[in-house]
């Protein structure tokens, strides 16, 4: 254990986390917040499945159902999957490239708090007159028609958390470009780092489209703009384009890091170097690039005409090629390997058939003329859940087990982990496989109920039963987490024993400065190379010296909180509430003053002195 983790009072721990700029702690914050929203979104999913279990059900009303389905999608994508991806990126990327932190630690914290307050703001809608009800896509004509403040919560909440995501993406781009340890060339970076790099680039280009779209929608809703108001010469299809120019890359923003996590797991537990590393890198970049050229395949039925439809159909099909390359590379990583079936590896193995199923239905959807049948039916619901649950969520669960020791210094119980895995996998296929057929049998998506005698009863019942398997699996995971942390059995540097990349060369959890001396990287899988030469640790690339560290800061919380307050003011200003404008001004004031303080106050950070580091010998942190 390093010295900084000595016992602290509860209040001090909370203050520590509120002000931290340490990527490892921010990773934990992302994990907790993202995990919480994942539970909320999961609960909403269960409500949906209960409502649809039998025809003509009245478990929830029509309007409430639309709120639940909107919040399920929005929460899962923006508030659960994205932050959980960021949790693992924060926890692992700086360690994998041999850095002491991200490039901008303060911004890292700011990114988290913006996401957090945006998410909280969005969920406040439940208690303040109703949640957004126009679907996670919030197509403009329906959004403008919606008469509660729900969609205003959606617009402002996503705007705030979106800034956080954009900041996070830029931060990781700069970190990966600038902060790599000596010898860590681009083509020696672990694949998770590569995928985080490409994902960050996608965030940089995709999120502005969403920001623009949300701004236009905000002007329409709050200030009487006419961008999407057809009767005033607006056009709602522009919203669809803006949304999907963001929305499609968003899918790759989620799935690429998932690919990255699985690539690490396959290599580790097959005890083998990743097969076709350079083609994997190439495929990742190519997927990221093509991801921007295919957004209109979400709009085949909009009436873009056969030329646009055909172009986007063929472009979409092209993405199957790099994805296929990846699948085969993973299979051949395992080929000839020495496979250990740990919990993370089980998730990785189950991911292959699950994701292939999601991928091939994606190709089926790309067939524009046939998509006129699939579009907005349960076939599409099945497809994207196969991709997002079968790809992203399995990766997040795998990552939770895989990186848990590095984040918390303990190993999650393997037996419980495997029970979670089987329940979740069975539940997942039970829920979503049958939905392909429901869609083909004519069931549209986003219906709050259905009439009997349309041939949909059996399928929906099976689907609902499956959902509860997943629910139980998640509960067991929570029990596992609590049990593990209560027992608190500490683990060493390389708890999986076959770790290959740099993070496994240092203690779990690492000291707050990560590396006492920056390591010298001599190839792909640097730690594995050293291990194979019989060494226990990395060769240092620099002499022991003072380490410059950033100071903690409370300002990210206040900057984000100010926007949170201001959003309420902006929203209720429409209702002519006389307190709205002052609230807006106070909120913006808090943000701007915090930013001013940050700008004018010199904060040079502090140094850990060489002597202190020497005293810490044998206590880890050695490169």
């Amino acid at each position: 254990m390093s010295t900084y983790a000595h016992k602290k009072s509860f209040g001090a721990t909370v203050w520590d986390y509120l002000t931290t700029v340490d990527h490892k702690k921010i990773g934990i914050l992302y994990l907790i917040a993202g995990g919480f929203f994942f539970l909320v979104g999961g609960l909403e999913a269960l409500f949906i499945r209960v409502q649809l279990a039998v025809p003509n059900n009245d478990f929830v009303s029509a309007g409430l159902y639309n709120e639940i389905l909107t919040m399920h999608g929005t929460t899962m994508i923006f508030l659960a999957a994205m932050p959980l991806i960021f949790a693992f990126m924060n926890a692992a990327i700086p360690l994998q490239i041999g850095a002491r932190d991200v490039a901008f630690p303060f911004l890292n914290s700011l990114g988290f708090w913006l996401f957090f307050f945006g998410g909280v703001f969005l969920n406040c809608s439940w208690f303040l007159g109703g949640a957004p009800d126009a679907g996670w896509t919030s197509y403009a004509s329906l959004t403008l028609e919606s008469d509660t403040h729900g969609v205003d919560f959606y617009i402002l909440g996503l705007q705030i958390s979106g800034i956080g995501t954009l900041i996070g993406g830029i931060n990781f781009l700069v970190t990966i470009v600038n902060m790599r340890a000596p010898g860590m060339t681009y083509m020696r970076m672990p694949l998770f780092t590569w995928s985080a790099f490409v994902t960050s680039a996608l965030i940089l280009f995709a999120f502005p489209a969403l920001t623009v779209g949300l701004f236009l929608l905000m002007f329409d809703r709050l200030f009487g703009g006419n961008f999407f108001d057809v009767s005033a010469g607006g056009n709602t299809i522009i919203w669809e384009h803006l949304f999907w120019i963001f929305g499609h890359p968003e899918v790759y923003i989620l799935i690429l890091p998932a690919f990255g996590i699985f690539s690490e797991i396959f290599a580790t537990f097959s005890r083998k170097r990743l097969f076709g590393y350079s083609s994997m890198v190439f495929a990742t970049v190519l997927i990221g690039f093509l991801g921007f050229m295919v957004w209109a395949h979400h709009m085949f039925t909009v009436g873009m005409g056969p030329i646009a439809n055909a172009i986007f159909a063929v472009a979409t099909m092209a993405i199957a090629v790099p994805t296929g390359i990846k699948i085969f590379n993973w299979l051949f990583t395992m080929w000839g390997g020495n496979i250990k079936f740990t919990t993370p590896m089980l998730y990785a193995i189950a991911f292959i058939p699950s994701f292939v199923a999601g991928g091939v239905t994606g190709i089926m959807n790309a067939v524009a003329a046939a998509d006129y049948q699939y579009h907005d039916s349960y076939f599409v619901v099945a497809h994207f859940h196969y991709v997002i649950v079968g790809g992203v969520v399995l990766a997040l669960l795998a990552g939770t087990h895989y990186y848990w020791p590095k984040m918390f210094g303990t190993l999650l119980n393997e037996a419980l982990g495997k029970i979670t895995f089987w329940l979740f996998l069975i539940g997942f296929h039970l829920t979503f496989f049958i939905q392909h057929f429901l869609g083909l049998m004519g069931m549209p998506r986003r219906v709050f109920t259905y009439l009997p005698n349309q041939g949909w009863e059996t399928g929906n019942l099976i689907s609902s039963i499956g959902a509860f398997f997943m629910g139980v699996a998640v509960i067991i995971l929570l029990i596992n987490i609590v049990m593990t942390q209560v027992k608190n059995v500490r683990v060493g540097n390389d708890p999986w024993e076959d770790g290959r990349s740099l993070e496994w060369a240092i203690p779990s959890p690492p000291p707050f400065y990560n590396f006492k001396q920056l390591p010298l990287v001599r190839g792909l899988d640097p730690y594995w190379i050293e291990k194979m030469e019989g060494k226990k640790e990395m060769t240092p690339a620099e002499p022991l010296g003072d380490i410059h560290m950033p100071n903690p800061s409370f300002l990210p919380v206040t900057i984000s909180f100010g926007l949170f307050v201001a959003a309420f003011g902006a929203m209720y200003h429409v209702d002519d509430k006389n307190w709205a404008l002052p609230v807006l001004i106070i909120g913006m004031g808090i943000t701007l003053i915090s930013m001013l303080i940050r700008s004018v106050k010199d904060d040079h950070g502090f140094h850990i002195h060489k002597e202190d580091l020497e005293n810490e010998d044998d206590k880890g942190g050695r490169a």
Binding site: S278, V321, L331, I349, A368, G442
Partner: protein, 360 residues
């Protein structure tokens, strides 16, 4: 072990049986029982893409099962370090090129069919009166939560039940008068969005044989989330032989002024003229502009198959609907547009509306 295997076998048999029993869905609603040229083309594409995809899945599965069965870590090889393979150019080229070829096989019919399904050129051929020459054109207007079908060349407006001739291409102009909806008759062809800002055009063909199988009635759906009652925005398609369709258009045109029969119905007509006529027309040749047509046309209401698109067509349900539409279709625009009706008024209106039929 053996017992366990046996159990698994039983379970899988049941699973397959369940699938077979549920089969391809209801023929009036399922894309898997295509009853028209468009749906058939789309079905062909589904089959082609499924075959290719199953091929891919088989290859992956075989390698997958072999790998996880063959290369497990056991007590024996616990400490062995496998050879660290960098890659294999030949293999990598193979699994790059073969998918490209497979996709080409899929891309060609995709592009060709996409253009075929978008071919609406006969709609554009007009005679000197401005009417479409040969093609039958239907203007579909989607509204919160009902459908209007206008036959511009025939001067007929109807709602909720779409009447079409079989074995002949029918061309559609679709649009929305409020939020975005999507027009979908799964068994006959894929959907087209009805946008608030412009007209989309496409065509469908209703198969005569397929129609017989479903007693000449297909189900239509709204496929785009449009508000609370999106799930209830159903319509029905009544298919007629080409001769019957001619007859139907004639009857609709001749249906000038509906005559109420009996005292009760007469009373109903008065209530109708007082409370309903502002929105609902009761003749098929409604010449008002579409902005004025804010509620379903009731000309052939007595012949409809559903009340409000969803309830069984009987007097009890009609009364239920008129008494409190919100109860039946949450968020509909009829609620609160008329004064509350008492029992007697409901009876009278029901008698009148149920009498609005083509054939007396």
């Amino acid at each position: 072990m053996r017992k366990r295997l046996h159990k698994w076998r039983l379970i899988s048999i049941f699973a397959i049986l369940a699938l077979a029993l549920s089969g391809c869905g209801e023929p009036f609603l399922s894309t898997l029982t295509p009853a028209g040229e468009v749906a058939k083309k789309q079905y062909d594409l589904m089959i082609l893409s499924t075959v290719i995809m199953v091929l891919v899945i088989i290859v992956v599965t075989v390698i997958f099962i072999y790998v996880i069965a063959r290369f497990r870590r056991t007590k024996k090889n616990e400490n062995s370090i496998p050879k660290q393979v960098e890659g294999n150019h030949k293999l990598e080229i193979i699994w790059t090129v073969i998918p490209i070829l497979l996709l080409l096989v899929l891309a060609v019919p995709t592009v060709s069919y996409t253009f075929q399904l978008a071919d609406v050129s006969p709609m554009k051929q007009k005679d000197k009166d401005g009417k479409t020459k040969d093609a039958l054109v239907v203007n579909v207007r989607a509204n919160l939560y009902w459908w209007e079908f206008e036959y511009p060349d025939l001067g007929i407006v109807t709602s909720q039940d779409l009447f079409v001739p079989t074995d002949k291409k029918v061309y559609f102009n679709v649009k929305s008068s409020d939020v975005k909806h999507s027009f979908w008759i799964p068994a006959v062809g894929g959907k087209t969005d009805t946008n608030p800002e412009g007209v989309n055009q496409f065509w469908l063909e209703f198969d005569g044989k397929g129609s017989e199988k479903v007693k000449n009635q297909f189900y239509g759906k709204c496929a785009e989330l449009c508000g609370p009652s999106h799930a209830y925005m159903d319509f029905k398609v009544q298919t007629l032989s080409q001769d019957d369709f001619k007859q139907w258009t004639q009857d609709m045109k001749n249906l000038k002024k509906p005559a109420a029969e009996g005292n009760l119905a007469k009373e109903g007509e008065e209530i109708y003229n007082k409370s309903c006529i502002g929105c609902h027309a009761n003749t098929a040749n409604d010449s008002r502009p579409e902005q004025a047509r804010t509620a379903p046309n009731l000309a052939n209401f007595g012949d409809r198959t559903r009340i409000a698109g969803i309830l069984e067509h009987n007097e009890e349900n009609l009364k239920k609907w008129m008494q409190d539409p919100e109860q039946v279709k949450p968020g509909n625009l009829m609620t609160g547009k008329y004064q509350k009706l008492d029992e007697h008024e409901l009876d009278a209106l029901t008698a009148y509306l149920m009498g609005l039929k083509l054939e007396q």
